[in-house]
C-alpha cells in the first residue's frame, strides 16, 4: 500500500469518517468562498490615516519611509538616499514598466542603472511593490518576469517604490487584489516584507542585516487624488 493511501486511511479512521457525511462539501464551500475572519480595526483606515499608519508601522520596524509628491521625484530621492548612506551611485532595477517609466536619465543623470535579477555584487536594488499593508507596515512583492525575487534579498539595500493607491489596510485586501491580478494561480513567490532583515539569535539582541538587506527604504508616491 502506498504511504499516501495509508496516511489518508489512518486519518479517516481516526476521524471516524463516513461516506456522505458532508465533510467534502464543507471543505469545497470554504475554499470557494474563502470568507474573511476578523479584520482588526486598525486595518480598516482610509485616506491619509491609512498612509500615515503604513509609514509609522514601517518605521517602527526600522524601515525608512520617504514621501514624494510625483513620479518625477523618485529618481532624485533614490540618488539622495544613496548619497546619504555613502553608497556608490549604482542600482539594479526591476525590469518593470512602472520603474522603467521613471525619468532616471533626466533627473538622476549620474546614477548608473542596470536591470535584471540580482548579482551577488549588487549593493542596491530598486523594485516596485504589488501592495503595501498599513496594519503592520508590510510590503507585498511577488515574482514574475518583471520582478525577480533575488532583488528582494541579495543586495544590502532594498529601495521599494510604492504608490499611495497600492497601500491597503489589511492582508485580506492583498489577497483580493492578488486573486484579481492572477486569476489562474498565485505567482511562484509572494514576499511579505516587514522591515529589513534581522536576527536575535545572539543573546536575544536585535541585529539588523542578518542575510537579507540591511536597509529597507520605501519611497511612497502620494500623488494628489491618488490616495
Amino acid at each position: 500500500m502506498s504511504s499516501r493511501k495509508a496516511i489518508l486511511g489512518a486519518i479517516r479512521h481516526s476521524l471516524g469518517r463516513q461516506r456522505g457525511d458532508g465533510a467534502e462539501q464543507a471543505v469545497e464551500a470554504r475554499l470557494r468562498t474563502h470568507d474573511r475572519n476578523l479584520v482588526p480595526q486598525r486595518g480598516c483606515l482610509e485616506g491619509e490615516a491609512l498612509l500615515s499608519l503604513f509609514s509609522s508601522q514601517a518605521e517602527r520596524v526600522d524601515a525608512t519611509v520617504e514621501r514624494v509628491a510625483t513620479d518625477a521625484e523618485v529618481p532624485e530621492a533614490v540618488a539622495e538616499y544613496l548619497k546619504r548612506n555613502n553608497l556608490p551611485p549604482r542600482v539594479r532595477m526591476a525590469p518593470h514598466p512602472d520603474i522603467q517609466a521613471l525619468p532616471w536619465a533626466e533627473k538622476a543623470p549620474l546614477l548608473e542603472v542596470a536591470e535584471g535579477r540580482a548579482d551577488p555584487q549588487d549593493l542596491v536594488s530598486v523594485t516596485p511593490a504589488f501592495a503595501a499593508v498599513a496594519e503592520t507596515g508590510t510590503l507585498v512583492l511577488h515574482s514574475g518576469p518583471q520582478t525577480p525575487t533575488t532583488l528582494n534579498f541579495l543586495p544590502e539595500n532594498h529601495v521599494v517604490v510604492v504608490r499611495a493607491s497600492q497601500v491597503v489596510g489589511a492582508y485580506e485586501e492583498v489577497w483580493d487584489r492578488l486573486r484579481a491580478a492572477n486569476p489562474a494561480a498565485l505567482p511562484r513567490t509572494v514576499n511579505m516584507i516587514t522591515g529589513p532583515s534581522r536576527t536575535g539569535d545572539i543573546e536575544q539582541r536585535l541585529e539588523l542585516g542578518a542575510h537579507g538587506p540591511r536597509r529597507l527604504h520605501i519611497v511612497l508616491i502620494a500623488e494628489e487624488g491618488d490616495s
Binding site: 476578523l38 520596524v61 494561480a185 514576499n191 534581522r198 539569535d201 545572539i202 542575510h211 537579507g212
Partner: protein, 477 residues
C-alpha cells in the same frame, strides 16, 4: 535525532549546575515575556483572533483528509510534487533521492524542526551530501554539533563568547586578529561566510509554517531572510512539512499569522513571510526549477480523535517554553529530544513513546502559564495530566510513587477516613512546627526539604475551618 528524554532528571541536574547555560537562560527569562505582552496590548483584537485561530485549526483537523487531498491536487496543478511519508525514514529517503537525482553535493537549509525530527542532516552527511544550516542560530549549533534548545531560537543556550570561539575555530581562512567581540561582528561574519554557501548550493530545504489548501502554497516565516535565499537560489526547493500544517485559505492563514509573531518574538509581523507556489514559471528570471513537498505523518494521524488531537493545532511559536519556569531553569537540551518545554512535554511522548519520554509531562508545576499564553489555546497542562494517567495505567511510574498514589487514592475515596487522617496529620505537624513556623527536614519529604523549608500548617485542616465558618455564618444570620 537520538533521544535522551529518558534521562531527563540527570540532564536537568547537569543543566542546573552549568553556569554558562544559566547565564544564557537569563536572556529568555527577560526578553520574550515583556515583548509578547506589549505586542498583545497593541492589538485590541488579539484574544478574539486567538479564538478564531483555534477554530480554524479545529475545523481543518476535523476535515484533514479532504484538505490534504485538495492541497495536493493544487500543488500538482502548479507543477510541484508531493511525497507522502508515513515515517521519518521514508522522509529522509525521499529527500535523499531528490538530492541524488540532481547530483547535489551541498544543500542549504532554512530552520526546520521537522528536519531535526527526522534527523535529516545526519542522513545526508552519511550519504556524502553536505547540509549547511543558514539560520544564524541553527548555523551556530551545527558548528557546535548540538541539537536546538528552543524551537524558534535554537542557540538560545549559547553565549556570545562561545559563538566567537566557535567562529574562530571553524572560519580558519579569516584573519585571526579580527575583532569578534560584538554581536554585530558575529552576525556580519556569518553573513559573509554563508553568502558563498547559498550561491554554490544545489538544493535548498526549508520547513513550512503553513500549507494552504486553496492555492497549494507553502509558507515560511523568518526574520533573517535566510529561508528566502535558501529557496530562491538553488535548482530545487524541497519543503519538509508535517500534515497538520495545512490551513484552508489565504484568509485563514492571515488570521493565524496575526497571532504567530506576536506570541513568538513579540513582533507584530516577522520580517519575511513568504508564500511559495510550485517551481519558477517559464518566464521567471529566478527561482527554483523544481518544487517538492515532503508531507510527513510520523505518528500524527494517530493523534487525531484522541485526547491529544488539540496538540496538532500547535503553530510552533515557542510562547509556552518562553513562559515555563521549568524550561527557564533547565533549558531545552534537558528535554532530550527535538521539542522542549510544555509543547514538547505533550508532543514528544506522542511521537517517540511515553516509555521513552514519560519524564517530560511530569516536569511541570502545572502553573498554567503555557496554556494562558498559547495562541492556539492548547490545554497543555490537561494533556500532560493525560500522559501522567497513561503512564500510571501502563505501570511505568516508579514503584514508590505508585504506592504513594495508591495509598492517597485509598484515603481520598473515603471522606471520613480522609478527614480523620488529615486532621491528625495536620494537627501533629502544626504542633511540631509551631515555634519556627517551618521545617528544615521532614520524613518522606526529603525531596522538598533538600532545597527549601516546608511551611508548617496552621494546625487545622481547611475542611475543619470551612465547616466552622459555615456554622458561625448560620448562627449569626
Amino acid at each position: 535525532m537520538q533521544s535522551t528524554s529518558h534521562a531527563f532528571k540527570q540532564n536537568a541536574h547537569r543543566a542546573l549546575h552549568d553556569p554558562m547555560l544559566q547565564k544564557a537562560m537569563g536572556h529568555v527569562r527577560s526578553g520574550f515575556i515583556d515583548k509578547r505582552v506589549q505586542a498583545a496590548a497593541r492589538l485590541p483584537e488579539f484574544d478574539q483572533l486567538r479564538d478564531q485561530a483555534k477554530a480554524i485549526k479545529d475545523h481543518t483537523l476535523a476535515h484533514l483528509d479532504h484538505y490534504l487531498e485538495r492541497y495536493e491536487a493544487k500543488v500538482l496543478e502548479m507543477g510541484g510534487k508531493v511525497h507522502w511519508c508515513a515515517t521519518a525514514e521514508e522522509a529522509r529517503e525521499a529527500v535523499l533521492s531528490i538530492c541524488r537525482s540532481l547530483d547535489a553535493r551541498t544543500v542549504t537549509k532554512g530552520k526546520s524542526m521537522l528536519s531535526e525530527e527526522i534527523a535529516l542532516n545526519e542522513h545526508l552527511e552519511a550519504n556524502g551530501i553536505e547540509p549547511v544550516e543558514t539560520d544564524l542560530g541553527e548555523y551556530i549549533i551545527q558548528l557546535r554539533k548540538e541539537p536546538p534548545s528552543h524551537i524558534i531560537a535554537p542557540a538560545v543556550h549559547v553565549n556570545k563568547e562561545q559563538v566567537e570561539a566557535d567562529f574562530r575555530r571553524v572560519h580558519k581562512n579569516l584573519p585571526p586578529e579580527r575583532s569578534l567581540s560584538e554581536a554585530a561582528q558575529l552576525v556580519d561574519e556569518a553573513r559573509q561566510v554563508l553568502r558563498q554557501r547559498y550561491l554554490e548550493a544545489d538544493v535548498g530545504i526549508t520547513g513550512a509554517n503553513f500549507l494552504i489548501a486553496e492555492t497549494g502554497t507553502s509558507v515560511i516565516v523568518t526574520n533573517e531572510g535566510n529561508g528566502d535565499l535558501t529557496q530562491t537560489l538553488p535548482k530545487a526547493h524541497i519543503v519538509v512539512a508535517s500534515l497538520e500544517k495545512v490551513v484552508p485559505t489565504l484568509e485563514d492563514c492571515a488570521t493565524i499569522l496575526r497571532v504567530l509573531a506576536r506570541s513568538a518574538t513579540g513582533q507584530e509581523f516577522s520580517s519575511y513571510t513568504t508564500f511559495s507556489t510550485g517551481p519558477r514559471r517559464p518566464e521567471d528570471p529566478d527561482g527554483p526549477e523544481e518544487y517538492h513537498v515532503i508531507l510527513l505523518d510520523n505518528g500524527r494521524s494517530s493523534m487525531l480523535g484522541t485526547e491529544f488531537q488539540d496538540m496538532l493545532r500547535c503553530i510552533r511559536c515557542g510562547a509556552c517554553m518562553n513562559h515555563c519556569p521549568v524550561y527557564h531553569a533547565v533549558g531545552g537540551h534537558s528535554y532530550g529530544w527535538v521539542y522542549p518545554g510544555p509543547m514538547g512535554a505533550v508532543l514528544t511522548p506522542s511521537l517517540i513513546g511515553v516509555e521513552e519520554a514519560g519524564h517530560l509531562p511530569n516536569a511541570s508545576t502545572f502553573c498554567g502559564r503555557c496554556e494562558a499564553v498559547c495562541p492556539m489555546r492548547i490545554p497543555l497542562p490537561k494533556m500532560m495530566r493525560h500522559w501522567r494517567e497513561r503512564e500510571f495505567e501502563q505501570h511505568q511510574a516508579p514503584a514508590k510513587a505508585r504506592l504513594a498514589i495508591e495509598a492517597w487514592a485509598f484515603v481520598a475515596k473515603r471522606p471520613r477516613l480522609y478527614r480523620w487522617a488529615t486532621s491528625l496529620l495536620i494537627g501533629a505537624l502544626g504542633r511540631a512546627g509551631r515555634r519556627r513556623g517551618r521545617f528544615r527536614e521532614l520524613p518522606l519529604a526529603g525531596g522538598w526539604t533538600a532545597h527549601r523549608d516546608f511551611p508548617a500548617p496552621s494546625g487545622r485542616s481547611f475542611q475543619a475551618r470551612w465547616a466552622e465558618q459555615q456554622r458561625r455564618g448560620r448562627a449569626s444570620r
